[in-house]
């Protein structure tokens, strides 16, 4: 194994000092001076209604109000994959909380008070609050104009219905597969909606200056995507990429919620109506819940065919996604899940329908796991049931059917190198799968659960990362990239990659947050692709800089190129052991010649990465023919839980996650992803749950009613295991794993509950009430 100095080391975070000292600036910490205006939103009180009129007279009379705008002022649509979202509602509202108008005022309180005085007249339209109602023939149409909407070529909307996208996968022949099976059985599993709950709420400040340039400061995972969508949406006002700039300071947690564009479009649009004044809009915690993105709910019907020896012969899955009122981003979650809903299994015959359904609930969108957390609950619950029905050990059953490198994926491409079997074995050993635990306390039951997981980055085939790397006079470095530090530690990992190649320690490398005018292009910080994609770009930029350095040494000093190498921030030569030239002596100044002239000059490295093998083109009827996913990161996980039979409360005694990360670039940061991500997943299965009433109103839009875990709720022990099967195109062999740690939590708990009590719970969350009900004989 290669001997690395910085790669694989527990290097301290380069953003650490800023974050433990309060120096780290988040968007609400930026100062804009006394000319700053504040916006408050007039929100729809109806889930589905026609807007008959907006009366702003009373609101306009509130002292301090500067401007009131509504859909009339901004008749623009926007969207990432599908243009179906509106800056402000136009003729109709489609969910409770949707922005209908905005008041801009000198003080936040005045804006809020005036917004409350804007009167909107509605005529109610029939509500569609779940996928069954939405798919019924003759259902009210939420987007009558669907057939006209622009979208990416890999979406298949059905005009005249509420189906925004229909992803089909057909591989082999499922009828034949089921005929070959000794056991065929189906079950339906339901997963509700969830909220990201980053502790920093969304916020944005827009400034449209008198020179006609729009700058927007946002809390975002996607500065370039934002610039692109702002430019597209506001093009009728004469804006284009050239005069739109997005600046993103540190982000206080993203989890997908700050990917793409949601409320930030308001800051961009509102700024154009108050030229010369910055205008700030901050979401309240309640708005954070109901008007950003939510994780979509899903109803998954899983039908599996298996032979007596445990071989899976066929899988048929129907996934109905409650995607909400707008699916510009969420439809791609549905797409990604459809492509990968087999889970990490080799299955010859597959039929998957993943259906993106409009409802009058808040827009669904990306959330850590991107559809995989949702379908894995049903799939991995079902796999356990299959093993049980066959009388085969659940781990042995998985091991037998686990996908191997080179196997054909559901959409026809080959599986990448990965160590799934090793993950399975390591987890089974760590939780002593072969030993049955029993509680000594008759009021407690102990159970063990096991589940596999996988996830591929869901990206357009041309998602690219670009990096500039520049030296400073003291030999330190700045890496200019446009990925976002959302907590995952990306800045540190990029510094480690550059450090390894250029021998400059990470502590001397700055990775600043992006500004689209100054930092080069990055698609988005989502999909767990940054370590891999942006990391590769950093690697290339560092190599580019190194090559420039060697070229210069050859040109200025006549050294033999092949003998040159870098060590401890110096250039050295294998030919001349005594010779060394510190980088700081020449990376800016150049190298002086006997005649007093200089050679070289500031060294700037450039690196770019785009997966040129990826393609989203495929047959719409079968999903075959493309290469939509670049690769999968796979893993196995297990848990030991204790259930209190009196209260129904579940305690996690031990959880183990093994992930094949390709190469653990920074084991400490990876560990952080496991402890954090697993707890986030655990909460979705134990208690988090969005509740809506029959008018489509969210009932628990705060942290008292939508409980997220506190320090009191953590598992007793979480054991991370990292397997390293190199990803051939990853930096030092690495692939991403940030989302993956959340994905298996639900099925391992469901399977452990089944192990402990003999009941299969098929709907999330698996709350204490459900356990008690199940114990008293009511099957869920």
């Amino acid at each position: 194994m290669a001997d690395y100095k910085f790669i694989g080391q527990p290097v301290l975070r380069v953003d650490g000092e800023a974050k433990i000292s309060g120096a780290a600036q988040f968007v609400d910490d930026l100062e804009f001076g006394p000319n700053l205006l504040y916006a408050a939103i007039v929100e729809s009180t109806r889930a589905h209604a026609r807007i008959d009129g907006i009366d702003t007279a009373k609101a306009a009379a509130v002292p301090g109000v500067v401007k009131i705008v509504s859909g009339r002022d901004f008749p623009f649509k926007f969207g990432l994959y599908m243009h179906d979202r509106f800056v402000f509602a136009q003729d109709r509202v489609r969910f409770v909380g949707e922005q209908v108008a905005a008041v801009i005022a000198r003080e936040p309180a005045a804006a809020l008070r005036a917004a409350g005085l804007v009167k909107v007249r509605y005529s109610d339209l029939p509500l569609v609050l779940n996928t069954e109602d939405a798919l019924r023939s003759g259902a009210p149409l939420i987007h009558p104009g669907l057939g006209e909407y622009e979208h990416v070529p890999w979406f298949f909307p059905r005009a005249g219905t509420n189906i925004a996208h229909f992803r089909k996968i057909r591989k082999g022949d499922v009828d034949k597969g089921f005929a070959e099976a000794d056991l065929v059985f189906a079950e339906t599993y339901t997963v509700p909606r969830y909220a990201h709950c980053a502790i920093e709420p969304h916020g944005a400040i827009g400034l449209f200056d008198h020179a006609g340039r729009l700058t927007v400061w946002t809390a975002s995972q996607s500065p370039f995507t934002q610039r692109h969508l702002f430019s597209e949406a506001l093009a009728p006002l004469g804006l284009s990429h050239h005069n739109v700039r997005v600046i993103t300071p540190f982000v206080g947690g993203g989890f997908g919620g700050k990917a793409g564009v949601s409320m930030e479009i308001l800051a961009a649009a509102l700024a154009t109506s108050v030229k010369g004044c910055p205008v700030k809009i901050l979401w309240s915690r309640a708005q954070e819940f109901y008007n950003t993105y939510q994780r979509q709910g899903v109803k998954a019907t899983v039908k599996l065919g298996v032979k007596k020896d445990g071989t899976i012969t066929a899988l048929e899955e129907t996934l109905h996604w409650d995607a909400g009122a707008y699916v510009e981003y969420g439809a791609n979650v549905v797409n990604a899940a459809g492509l990968s809903a087999t889970g990490p299994y080799r299955i010859a015959n597959v039929k998957i329908d993943s259906v993106c359904v409009y409802t009058n609930l808040p827009p669904g969108g990306p959330y850590r796991g991107f559809g995989y957390s949702e379908f894995i609950f049903g799939l991995e619950s079902h796999m356990n049931e299959a093993a049980k029905k066959l009388g085969i050990d659940a781990v042995a059953f998985r091991r037998k059917n686990a996908i191997r490198p080179g196997d054909t994926l559901a959409y026809g491409a080959a599986m990448n190198p990965s160590g799934l079997v090793e993950c399975i074995d390591r987890v089974a050993a760590e939780i002593e799968w072969d030993k049955k635990s029993k509680s000594v306390d008759p009021d407690k039951a102990i159970g063990k659960g096991f589940a596999l997981f996988w996830k591929a980055p869901a990206m357009p085939p041309n998602a690219a990362s670009t990096v500039f790397l520049k030296f400073n006079e003291d030999g330190s470095l700045n890496i200019l990239a446009s990925a976002m530090e959302i907590g995952q530690g990306y800045q540190t990992v990029m510094a480690q990659i550059a450090a390894e190649i250029l021998t400059v320690p990470p502590a001397k490398i700055r990775v600043e947050t992006p500004d689209t005018d100054r930092n080069p292009y990055e698609w988005q910080t989502v999909a767990s692709h940054i370590t891999w994609g942006c990391g590769k770009a950093v690697e290339r930029a560092a190599i580019d800089a190194r090559e420039q350095i060697f070229d210069l040494i050859v040109r200025a000093l006549g050294k033999e190129r092949e003998a040159l190498y870098l060590e401890a921030e110096q250039v050295k030569s294998r030919r001349e052991p005594g010779w060394a030239l510190p980088l700081k002596d020449f990376v800016i100044a150049g190298i002086v010649q006997p005649d007093g002239t200089y050679r070289g000059g500031p060294i700037v490295g450039r690196g770019m990465f785009m997966p040129e093998f990826a393609s989203a083109s495929s047959d719409p009827e079968t999903g075959q023919g493309g290469h939509p996913n670049v690769h999968y990161t796979v893993g196995a996980s297990g848990a030991i839980i204790e259930i209190d039979k009196q209260t129904g409360k579940i305690k996690v005694l031990k959880a183990v996650l093994a992930v094949d990360v390709g190469k653990a670039l920074n084991p400490d940061l990876l560990k952080g992803q496991v402890t954090g991500g697993f707890l986030q997943g655990l909460a979705t299965v134990l208690y988090e749950d969005m509740r809506f009433d029959d008018k489509g109103r969210l009932l628990n839009a705060n942290f008292s009613d939508y409980k997220i875990p506190t320090a009191m709720d953590i598992p007793q022990e979480v054991v991370p295991i990292f397997i390293e099967t190199p990803q051939p195109d990853g930096p030092f062999g690495a692939r991403g794993m940030g989302e993956h740690t959340m994905i298996p939590a639900a099925p391992i708990i469901a399977n452990a509950v089944e192990d402990a009590l003999g009941v299969r719970i098929t709907s999330m969350p698996i709350s204490a009430e459900k356990i008690i009900e199940a114990l008293s004989g009511n099957r869920q």
């Binding site: 433990i20 609400d28 400490d668 953590i714």
Partner: protein
Amino acid sequence: MNQRIEFVLNSEKRSVEPRANQTLLEMLRDTLGVKSPKCGCDRGDCGSCTVMIDGRAVRSCLVLAVEVDGHEVKTLEGLMPGGKFSALQKSFLAHNSFQCGFCTPGVIVAVSELLEKNPHPDRNEIKEALSGNLCRCTGYTPIIEAVVAHAGREE
């Protein structure tokens, strides 16, 4: 009428005239430019606005600015003696006890209060002291580890 108040902020005497309904969090952030306390919920649920009043950790979004008249307020900035990182902060660095860092100032203030009262807390006491501070990123374990390591060292 707004009332003028005098209080000590991070060892410095300040005199301010807050709006009657202004919260301590708003006064610190908007009037005085002290930005380490963050607003995560504005209703006492998340703890990201935690500061100390007379050595007691409180949620500054739930306190009116006028209430600190005559009292001593400390934010994270005031917990760095001589502008240097405290041993607790260094332990946070060493244990990666933060990811996005948004909750971190509030968490450090809450832990500082605990250690003031109980220099050698056990894990359960640490968890209890942290239970009012939400962190969506770390899963809390790295925070607890940092406190355990720090408190152990002082023994």
